[in-house]
Symmetry: C2
Subunit: 187 residues, 2 copies
């Protein structure tokens, strides 16, 4: 009953800390719309598994809605305490990053520059789309004080992924510059 809460567990407790009673399905949707930008978007199956554990440990409270299959979850007092003390007392871990594109560049000697350029371009595209989505998210948050920190994270994301895009652009320029230089030296 006192096993440690998993990272995704804390994330779900966090979503429930906005004092709404939500189903697993709704939590998943919300995670996809918010957490996904800076944290993993857990698959449905994990959301349910996690909620089951949290309920067993008394960190969330479950309520069945009438005859429906739908269960709704809300944060318990113990859950809130657990979450708050985690937020306050545990040191922040550094961001866990697995940047697949960077690995490809690192191994650039194994492929043609054009292959690299193609990968970089699709990545830049991805950045662009993500930034557009982020802007839309921020837009939807409005200026309700309840979403103050969500808004701050959205703005943080804009700077962060702006850096991501800048890094990709710079790399593209560098690689294009050197590979065309090589081309012309072939003449």
């Amino acid at each position: 009953m006192d096993r440690p809460v998993t990272p995704t567990g804390y994330a779900l407790l966090g979503l429930l800390s906005f004092d709404r009673e939500l189903s697993g399905y709704e939590l998943k949707q919300w995670a996809d719309a918010s957490l996904r930008f800076f944290y993993a978007a857990p698959p449905m199956s994990q959301v349910y598994a996690e909620l089951g554990r949290l309920a067993d440990d008394g960190l969330v409270l479950v309520r069945r809605h009438g005859s429906r299959a739908t269960k709704r979850y809300r944060l318990s007092a113990a859950g809130r305490r657990r979450l708050v003390s985690w937020l306050r007392d545990s040191p922040v871990e550094p961001p866990a990053l697995k940047h697949h594109l960077a690995l490809r560049v690192f191994l650039g000697h194994l492929v043609e520059p054009e292959d690299l350029v193609a990968h970089l371009e699709s990545h830049r595209q991805w950045c662009e789309e993500l930034l557009t989505e982020l802007a839309a998210v921020k837009e939807n948050l409005g200026d309700d004080p309840a979403w103050r920190y969500a808004r701050l994270v959205a703005e943080w994301g804009e700077t962060y992924y702006g850096g991501e895009r800048a890094a990709a652009r710079r790399l593209l320029e560098d690689i294009r510059a050197t590979s065309t230089a090589e081309d012309s030296s072939h003449d």
Copy 2:
């Protein structure tokens, strides 16, 4: 014999693609000094496990050094083919990010602003140190053409983590501004 290569497996094959014969221990050290900035730094035990699998599958070749316990690994022709076709033909996955700090900010309503500020400051510190380390790495690479792509990744990292630092700074300013505004409104 034809099971899929894991992400870390590809990373190790990648390190071996620089045509050196290395021990597991040396691979781990090198990973800590390079991969760690943009990819996971696999623990020793995983390096050995992975090398075992790669050897079973004929993707790396092992050689015992004299009476020593030390085994040295090098990339086989099959390993190189596998790696190159992966690099060329498989689509780049988007970066996998778990940004613990961002989650804390998202849940900022649960703690005091000072707690958040403390976390942010230690994160900014971390950014600073990482950027220093990155600069040192780049310095050590010199201008040997063999490390051309490593150098490009180091430069990419400088831009990338520059964005990370910028995002943290901005957030700090925003939070400080609003929390002091709240303080003065209490008077």
